[in-house]
Symmetry: C2
Subunit: 416 residues, 2 copies
């Protein structure tokens, strides 16, 4: 049976290396661990390879849930209005239970970034909110880093056509596949060794930032003049990181960022986005927001403004920041010159901030903090966590200490 016309286009050896990197670098799956995977149907070939490598690494049981653009669109076209306030809570509660039992989590990204572009924004927002609320018990185990998890991506044909609209489908898939393979370092002879070296480089950056103990970062560039206060006892992370179950994993493949927790109440000024954001199948571009006391008090966008404003209305925390991340403009993903319309890639081509939920691991001794302690230190809490890009070769960043002294962190998008 020929499930995919596109699989002939994608280099099978590199796809197999990607599966190996997902299991051995991304997840570091341990013998006996179960694995819960989610993927679009287009990614069946990668799911099969990852499943094989997971079992070869000693996985107990691999369970995969597929999403399907066709059935998602059927819902928008035909379902009754009440459908859009529903979500499969029973499934997400089950996933949370699996994670509580130490199952690892792998998500294959690669959905069509424009899937929901033609749909009613209010239905999209309601469906996303219902889903976020239902997913919360499972997402908390990820954002609290209870278990090892990983996101990796597959060159879905619909995504490839969005990235390379000028190319034929097969050529677009091939080019996106090559970009994914390069960014994920599986075009190298020994990807596992390459990731070891890359993790060491990212650790150097986060170690320097942790030593500096800045109390705020000041971003200056076209349309951007903002001071982002950092949470008390914030800690910078990047690359591999150790989950509470003791397993050191690489949650994102690719990753080029170092990141920490901003102070939910201490962000002031203006920010303009530097790349479009694909959020749940809708494109949001030309974002301009104004922060006062950590809160977004004004938000505009040249595209997708209605969706953006509905996202900001998800809950109180949706208007505040949960992450700030630094990525040099010369990062390999940025250097590729490709706009991926996919956060996993675009966030690693540019400095970025995230609306919503913070990561508890981005605090000193974060694993032992209660929710109240995290809040007291300035950690934000929300149903959402949405990264958007604010870095470019025109943006400067200064580190500001509690005593007011200033150290250049980045100049024209590069480490100073």
């Amino acid at each position: 049976m020929n499930i995919h016309s596109d699989i002939a286009t994608i280099d099978p050896k590199k796809l197999e290396k990607l599966a190996e990197v997902a299991v051995k670098v991304g997840l570091r799956l341990e013998a006996g661990q179960d694995l819960v995977m989610t993927a679009p149907l287009a990614a069946i070939p990668l799911v099969r390879l990852i499943t094989r490598h997971a079992y070869m690494a000693g996985a107990g049981l691999v369970t995969t849930f597929y999403s399907d653009e066709d059935t998602t669109l059927s819902r928008y076209r035909h379902a009754p209005d009440a459908s859009f306030d529903k979500a499969s809570g029973w499934l997400y509660e089950g996933m949370a239970k699996a994670f509580a039992g130490n199952a690892a989590r792998l998500a294959i990204a690669g959905d069509n970034p424009m899937m929901l572009a033609g749909q009613d924004p209010s239905k999209v927002a309601r469906a996303n909110k219902a889903n976020s609320m239902a997913y919360k018990p499972a997402l908390e185990k990820i954002s609290n880093f209870d278990i090892n998890w990983n996101i990796i991506s597959y060159p879905n044909p619909a995504w490839a056509k969005q990235v390379f609209p000028e190319l034929g489908e097969q050529e677009a898939i091939r080019k996106l596949a090559d970009a994914i393979f390069a960014a994920s370092r599986v075009d190298l002879d020994d990807p596992v060794a390459a990731w070891t070296e890359h993790n060491a480089n990212l650790r150097k950056r986060s170690t320097w930032l942790n030593g500096e103990r800045f109390s705020a970062l000041k971003f200056t560039g076209p349309g951007t003049d903002v001071t982002i206060g950092l949470a008390d006892d914030h800690e910078w992370h990047g690359g591999e990181s150790t989950a509470k179950n003791g397993i050191t994993c690489n949650p994102n493949i690719p990753t080029e960022e170092v990141f920490t927790t901003p102070h939910a109440l201490k962000v002031d000024g203006y920010v303009s986005s530097t790349k479009p954001l694909s959020h749940q199948g809708t494109l949001i571009d030309g974002i301009q927001v104004k922060f006062e006391g950590g809160r977004i008090v004004e938000a505009k966008a040249t595209k997708g403004e209605e969706v953006l404003n509905k996202v900001l209305d998800t809950d109180e925390g949706a208007r505040r920041l949960g992450e700030v991340a630094l990525v040099p403009h010369s990062s390999p993903i940025s250097a590729s010159g490709i706009l991926f319309y996919n956060t996993l890639f675009d966030e690693n081509a540019s400095c970025h901030i995230a609306l919503g939920q913070c990561y508890s691991k981005c605090f000193l001794d974060g694993a032992s903090l209660t929710q109240d302690q995290i809040t007291a230190k300035g950690g934000n809490s929300s149903l959402i966590h949405i990264d958007w890009m604010i870095g470019s070769d025109k943006v400067d960043i200064d580190g500001v200490r509690a005593d007011g002294s200033v150290t250049p962190v980045m100049r024209k998008g590069e480490w100073a």
Copy 2:
């Protein structure tokens, strides 16, 4: 994107009618009901059509879980030994919760009947047992008929090649598709009306049997001489039936049987199977068993004997009967002359019995009975429910009343 090479082979209008029959006859999905669907990956085209028709019928949310022969076989080839005692209990508990919230259940059958033929029978048995135990909370809601549910099938290429080994793949798929469409009555102009008529015919048979109140059925034929006691207050059913949620549905598409509950302690004699049985990817053929006091005390098979004996060892109830069903030898499915290697079809071509769990609905006022009351009336209980075929044009069946009087029920496989 071309997901399937086989979809070009299958008549799209009839496939759409099959989806409509699944929703309007099989499930009778009500507005606002959620739907939980399971399917092999090969059945993606049918899943998409059913999802669309479900939303058009007012479904709240449709959630589909796919099974994949490739990843199942990866597990058997590569997973550590301990994997085979594992199952996704968290998922099945979630499903049970969805059913408790009145979600309907649809299963698309059509897996490769020989999928696990080359695998270690003891691993197959352990995996099946772990799965049955984990699935129990969800299966109980089906076997107690709490909600409307339906099984329908899709002409999976691997299944088609097993049924028509002499044909090329495309021709085999086309022929199996046509057989499924005919048996499911979607080759007719108005399938929904045809099902209304068929349901009325099956009701006539079950009404007659319920009027007779036989205490036992005596089967006589080549290799078969058995008296199957019927449970106290048993009730015959066939065709459409009303679930405890008040929805009248057709749980099996196709269906030609009328069936009831045997007495778990009152089956004596010898039975020989008349068709091979495909159980969880293994073929079991030439079954010969001896019953004493309702219990199988000897079991042989010319093929798959080891798997059969492991199935019988699942639990105490696995050696006793949970169902007896009458199907005339002239049923359309039997008349097709096709051996489907799939219980949904083969059980509707022949009288059959089922090892394991009984259906509580097959008792007078079954919905209000407790488990203890069901057991006291002779209802069997087990993790398994496996139908196997014992009817042919050489088998006679007599109905025996409590006073010893006898009425012919079937002669040479036809209603007497």
